[in-house]
């Protein structure tokens, strides 16, 4: 799984850019962006981001509130 960078959170500090082992993260308009095709999915960027703006995990399986609202729209 290639990690997802939360662009609304990212502050362009560049730590992930520096520490990505194959050096495939860059800054576009001061936000981190991954060359997805070259990402080896190692998780180091996720690990080192000081503000937790990078993550990847499978979501929750149990729907939370979805069915409730789907069945009875407010």
């Amino acid at each position: 799984m290639v990690p997802i960078i939360d662009i609304f959170k990212c502050d362009g500090c560049g730590v992930c850019v520096k520490l990505c082992p194959p050096q495939v993260i860059g800054l576009i308009k001061d936000k981190a962006a991954i060359l997805v095709e070259l990402c080896e999915e190692c998780g180091i960027c996720n690990d080192v981001c000081p503000i937790n703006a990078i993550h990847f995990e499978l979501p929750r399986k149990e729907p939370v509130a979805v069915h409730e609202c789907y069945n009875n729209p407010r």
């Binding site: 194959p22 080896e40 999915e41 998780g43 499978l58």
Partner: protein
């Protein structure tokens, strides 16, 4: 009888897990994957992975560890599956069903991660408060007697769910730094109540779990436990071998049918499973336990048993009952089937790189350097069960037989394209073939090159060695698709004096094709320099310096290995000349400058260049008008895992 069964009669003879017959002696070992949903439900990805392992032909397939407590103290990995409530049973049942479908026995593992648990919490739990050494993990809180008793009950309840979900056997993890091992070890257990203080008391918590589970599942249900045979924690007050044996016997006596025996903790400083540990080097522990335990208890072992020869012999000699396999079968779930059919050279070989496991604590999914289809087994475009034939076969010219080129070529050939690989050297494998000359297990890199050469031939691809693909040749060939995988090489033009008579290339040094004087200076601060330095240290008779602009060398090297390499280099008195630029190479050595000092001479008889630079860019112009691709180090200098991924991802596209 299939040829592999004749060749390895003991591995392929049926065995018994307690009273349950299993079709052969191969057990796929429990592997955490991070494939499951973050709230503990089993995912399709996990089921697909378990299916692949079952279809590969192992007699038994073990699931990953499932955590037993609702608070998540036992949860050490974000994608770990849960078993603390009945609502998880349907998902778990999918795994049991798919394993049974392919005629294998299913073993579910319970795992409370203890000292390395509480991944979503800000604490962990354990027998005592012993501060963490690895900064990644949270500080432990001491479990009260009530908490311990509740934990035992949670394990018993989980065992009942395991039976309900239809698993053939249950396994408890007691190794590596997880909760049971925390109670067992004098390093982490400083209690003075009924659960600590003496070896027998440190055994009490695990003993109660086994006894409780045995009572709940009945006498006929097979119970397996994984325990550590040697903690390798002598430097911090871990158990002695005698204490370990005493404790393990108590636990096994409480109702275990099969002991899976291991060595080392995550925190152990010693190499246990890396490449520098020769295959089979831990079998003596299995033998020790076979001799010490009652006859009805069978013994399983993994840990650097990648090929069937040693396990078969060990089983024949009564030193082992089951050949467990984790990493070798992550790399190739079909390993048992391929051995049976005498197709061992078609096994995707595990390189013991440990990238797979290293990712788990970073919340990443399990990954495999040599098998990018891991986690994508049921996605057809990843080709795990085979790549579909291309609708329009094309002619493909691949320039370069390094990892990237060979990997792309193999997939293209499997898809039915007409593939020819052009390699200018006399042997295939590119940088990997040079690396395979390194010491301490690195000859195993050769297995990967051989695998590609075998598969290329099997799928009708051609390999032309000693043939440099020039611009003119590529024009003439008129291939539909051109893949430029020309790799990287040291660049003498980067330095003044780089063409001097005392200057050689790192790869040539490792191929043994150049003379190297006594004093050696290696220019370049990446893994290639470190490999060359290790190679020279192993040869003996050299003093080595490594020169580079970085503050720390080997930033690109596998984190699992770099500390090991650095300590070997330190032991060999390798001088690290960091933070400096090369001014000039002379016949006396290398003149360097840094912020602090101006011109300093690093004396050397031979200067080795390891400044890896992409090669073959002149070919790009020639093939611009064609359907052409650039992959591997010639695209951007990285590591083998990246080159392999490039080749695989391109192959998926062709």
């Amino acid at each position: 009888m299939l040829p592999g069964a004749k060749k390895y009669p003991h591995v392929f003879s049926p065995g018994y897990l307690g009273k349950m017959e299993v079709k052969n002696r191969i057990k796929y070992a429990s592997t955490e994957t991070n494939f499951n949903f973050v709230d503990g439900y089993v995912s399709d990805k996990e089921v697909a992975y378990m299916e692949a392992q079952a279809r590969g032909g192992a007699g038994m397939v073990t699931t990953q560890g499932a955590f037993t407590d609702p608070s998540g103290e036992g949860k050490g990995y974000v994608g770990m599956m849960a078993i603390y409530d009945d609502r998880f049973i349907p998902g778990l049942k999918r795994i049991a069903d798919v394993i049974r479908k392919y005629d294998s026995k299913s073993v579910l593992q319970l795992m409370h991660c203890g000292r390395v648990g509480g991944v979503h919490l800000d604490y962990t739990v354990g027998p005592s408060v012993v501060p963490q050494r690895l900064p990644r993990f949270r500080e432990p809180v001491e479990m009260s007697v009530e908490a311990i008793e509740q934990c035992v009950q949670e394990h018993v309840d989980a065992a009942i769910r395991c039976q309900e979900a239809g698993f053939d056997a249950i396994e408890i993890s007691g190794i590596v730094g997880y909760l049971l091992s925390n109670f067992i070890s004098a390093y982490t257990n400083k209690r003075t109540d009924e659960f600590g203080g003496t070896p027998a008391k440190r055994a009490e918590f695990p003993r109660r779990i086994v006894a409780g589970i045995r009572k709940a599942v009945g006498d006929d249900y097979p119970v397996v436990i994984r325990l550590c045979g040697r903690e390798l924690l002598d430097d911090r007050g871990g158990n002695t071998a005698e204490e370990t044996m005493e404790i393990n016997k108590i636990i096994v006596d409480a109702g275990v049918d099969c002991l899976s025996i291991t060595a080392g903790w995550q925190e152990s400083a010693k190499s246990v499973i890396s490449r520098d540990c020769p295959q089979g080097s831990w079998l003596w522990i299995a033998e020790e336990y076979k001799n010490a335990l009652p006859e009805h208890v069978t013994v399983a072992m993994a840990y650097r048993l990648f090929l069937p020869d040693q396990p078969d012999q060990a089983i024949a000699e009564g030193k082992l009952d089951f050949w467990e396999s984790c990493r070798a079968m992550i790399a190739d779930p079909m390993l048992p089937q391929k051995i049976l059919e005498d197709r061992q050279d078609e096994i995707i070989p595990c390189m013991a790189c440990n990238l797979c496991l290293a990712r788990l604590f970073r919340d990443a999914e399990l990954n495999c350097m040599v098998r990018p289809s891991l986690g994508h087994e049921t996605e057809p475009e990843f080709g795990f069960y085979g790549f579909a034939r291309a609708e329009q076969p094309k002619s493909v010219a691949v320039v370069g037989s390094g990892v990237a080129g060979l990997q792309a070529a193999v997939i293209a050939a499997e898809k039915g394209h007409q593939v020819t690989v052009y390699e200018k050297a006399g042997q295939p494998g590119g940088q990997l073939s040079a690396a395979a000359n390194g010491p301490w297990g690195d000859e195993e890199f050769g297995r990967l090159v051989n695998y590609y050469v075998t598969m290329l031939k099997k799928h009708g691809g051609k390999l032309k060695l000693g043939t440099e693909a020039t611009k003119e040749m590529l024009e003439e060939l008129g291939a539909d698709i051109v893949v430029l995988a020309t790799g990287a090489a040291p660049d003498p033009a980067a330095y003044k004096g780089g063409d001097g008579p005392n200057v050689v290339a790192a790869l040539d040094v490792m191929h043994g094709t150049v003379e190297v004087g006594k004093r050696v200076a290696i220019i370049g601060g990446t893994g290639v320099s470190i490999s060359t330095a290790l190679y020279l240290l192993d040869k003996g008779g050299h003093t080595v310096s490594i020169i580079g602009p970085q503050k720390k060398f080997g930033r690109d090297v596998n984190p699992s290995y770099i500390w090991r390499y650095m300590s070997k280099l330190k032991g060999g008195n390798v001088e690290m000349v960091t933070l400096c630029q090369v001014k000039e190479i002379t016949d006396k050595g290398v003149v360097v400058t840094s912020k602090e000092s101006k011109d300093t001479l690093v004396e050397a008889d031979t200067v080795v260049l390891a400044n890896m630079t992409p090669v073959g860019s002149e070919l790009r112009e020639a093939v611009k008008k064609k359907d052409s691709y650039v992959i591997g180090d010639s695209l951007q200098v990285r590591r083998a895992v990246n080159a392999l991924l490039d080749g695989y991802r391109l192959g998926m596209r062709l």
